[in-house]
């Protein structure tokens, strides 16, 4: 029998990864609770993928203590892998195999076979909406189908913890909705999820708790709602249009406590949006949109507007 699942499916203390003199992950403390969806957010190069790789035992930490599903990592990575599912950022489906063969071959890596496996595969094909494609080659699948197959493959061993590295990158909105729906089903079944994504809407919808990291360090952590409440003004007005800069310097700035320029748009962060909106109604040449602050505003405030590559 497998040991019982601990209350914390991931416990990391002082997790650090250095390559030469460069510190990619810097003294990270993380805890992921059983049954929650935990988000790991950050700009490119923040250390997300390295952190995930250490959690999976695929990269050896330079320092720190790490337990995943109760197993010390990397020492007992093999035992942990029996109960882990991984959806990698880059597809690594076997291109020479059909959908069905991909699932059964991957199952063989876990030592799974027989009638129970056949039943599991039937179930997973339905879960991934791929019943009609069971005998199709990988080359004939759309991007969304491949992601769903990768998700189904990650579930072949009925894992307790699922690690998803940008599961919806590159998908169209419909395909993304379908993946979200499936991830929510998994959460309802009691599985624990760790997710990285560049889509703040995705994190806001799915994650119970998340951290935003940059330069290998945690900037903030909490639930999406907490982060929005604690780190940003509740209202955002986005303004663009001809003559905006002149308007801002002569009139606008008296209504705005904090604002940021990004491209040709001015983002205004406000506790009370009404005075600014009244003023804007007198400027027909300016376009503006008022909305509630969201996680993306928090993310940009904390990590800056400049492009990361």
């Amino acid at each position: 029998m497998l040991p019982d699942l601990p209350d914390l499916v991931v416990e990391a203390r002082g997790l650090t990864k250095r390559y030469g003199t460069q510190t990619v992950v810097d003294n990270l403390d993380l805890s992921v609770r059983r049954g929650e969806c935990f988000g790991l957010l950050g700009p490119n190069g923040a250390g997300k993928t390295t952190t995930l790789r250490m959690l999976m035992g695929a990269t050896l930490p330079s320092a720190g203590e790490l337990n995943v599903l109760g197993y010390p990592i990397p020492q007992q990575a093999r035992q942990m892998h029996l109960r882990l599912g991984v959806v990698p950022q880059q597809d690594n489906l076997d291109p020479d195999f059909t959908v069905l063969e991909n699932l059964s071959t991957y199952a063989s890596y876990f030592g799974l076979r027989g009638a129970a496996l056949d039943a599991r595969i039937t179930e997973l094909l339905a879960f991934a909406n791929l019943e009609a494609k069971a005998h199709a080659g990988i080359g004939t699948l759309s991007g969304g189908m491949k992601r769903r197959l990768t998700l189904a493959r990650a579930l072949i061993n009925d894992p307790d913890l699922l690690i998803l590295d940008e599961p919806t990158t590159g998908l169209d909105p419909q395909a993304r909705q379908l993946i979200w729906q499936r991830l929510r089903t998994l959460l309802a079944q009691g599985k624990s999820l760790i997710l990285t994504t560049h889509y703040m809407e995705e994190a806001e919808r799915l994650c119970d708790r998340l951290v935003i990291i940059d330069s290998g360090r945690i900037l903030v952590s909490g639930s999406p709602a907490e982060l929005v409440q604690q780190h940003i003004e509740p209202h955002v007005v986005e303004i663009h249009g001809r003559g905006m800069d002149e308007w801002f310097n002569s009139i606008g700035q008296q209504f705005i406590q904090r604002s940021e320029h990004s491209g040709e748009t001015l983002f205004c962060y406000l506790a009370d949006e009404r005075p600014l909106l009244d003023a804007l109604r007198h400027c027909p040449e300016l376009h503006f949109m008022h909305r509630r602050a969201n996680l993306e505003d928090v993310f940009i405030k904390l990590t800056g507007k400049e492009l990361r590559e």
Binding site: P74, N92, D96
Partner: protein, 259 residues
């Protein structure tokens, strides 16, 4: 930990079986490549060149050549598998990356790949042996004893190729290995001509490398001559290379894939 000798368990089996499954789907072109080319060498050189040469060591040239071609084909097949195919699985298709997220480890993958390379060598040698038998250049059923030797050659060269793959940054890197190692071995291991007439340096050099000993065992098995008295010792040479390369490939791949 990272330099430890690889752990040996039965977990290599799913890795091996995955490769077999792919091979079965693509076996048409693979078979033609593995066995068509050596067969052309055998026919063209055996009959063409053989007409001028006549006998070598008391054997018709094609009979002499057939045993060498079986060994060379085993070496080439395993080398291709351990270089190009393994590199594709490692760096292009990320197949190994997927395996490493499961209970399989680098050690299991390397062992599975090495045993698969040995299997591929067997798959390529069997049709050549069959054709050689049909042409009447095989002496008797003791030629079946060639198969375990072919497997050893495949395991040896598969393991050596994986060391090169572990160091490769792209497919181009393999040209060095083919030009500097495989082709010289192909030419001076007694495949095409006996080594007796070669300068001492070449002869002794060839004796330190794995292919010549295998040829020395395969040739009597196929031609019905008595086996050399040191047969087991001869087979230890490719086996030692295999074990050393297995260890080195595992250590290098641990460093490359899990660092």
């Amino acid at each position: 930990m990272s330099r430890a000798f690889p752990s040996i368990t039965l977990r290599w089996l799913p890795v091996w079986r995955r490769n077999l499954r792919v091979w079965r789907k693509l076996s048409g072109p693979a078979l033609i490549g593995n066995f068509g080319e050596p067969l052309l060498y055998l026919l063209a050189l055996g009959y063409g060149l053989g007409g001028f040469i006549g006998e070598v060591n008391g054997l018709p040239y094609i009979v002499f050549l057939a045993s060498g071609i079986v060994c060379a084909s085993a070496m080439n097949t395993a080398s291709f598998e351990g270089l190009y195919s393994a590199y594709t699985r490692m760096a292009v298709q990320n197949t190994w990356g997927g395996m490493l997220a499961t209970p399989l480890s680098i050690d299991d993958i390397v062992l599975g790949e090495i045993l698969w390379a040995g299997t591929k060598s067997l798959i390529s040698a069997i049709p050549i042996l069959l054709v050689a038998a049909l042409l009447g250049v095989v002496h008797d059923a003791s030629a079946l004893g060639v198969l375990p030797v072919v497997f050893i050659i495949g395991v040896c060269f598969g393991a050596m190729a994986l060391v090169v793959t572990a160091l490769a940054k792209s497919y181009d890197f393999f040209i060095y290995y083919f030009t500097l190692v495989i082709t010289p071995l192909f030419l001076v291991s007694g495949v095409f001509f006996p080594l007796d007439g070669m300068p001492d340096a070449v002869r002794i050099g060839a004796q330190l490398l794995p292919l010549a000993h295998a040829v020395d065992v395969v040739r009597p098995l196929m031609t019905g001559q008595p086996l050399p008295s040191l047969t087991l010792l001869y087979l230890m040479v490719p086996l030692l290379y295999a074990v050393g390369a297995f260890w080195l490939a595992t250590v290098l791949l641990r460093r490359r894939l899990i660092s």
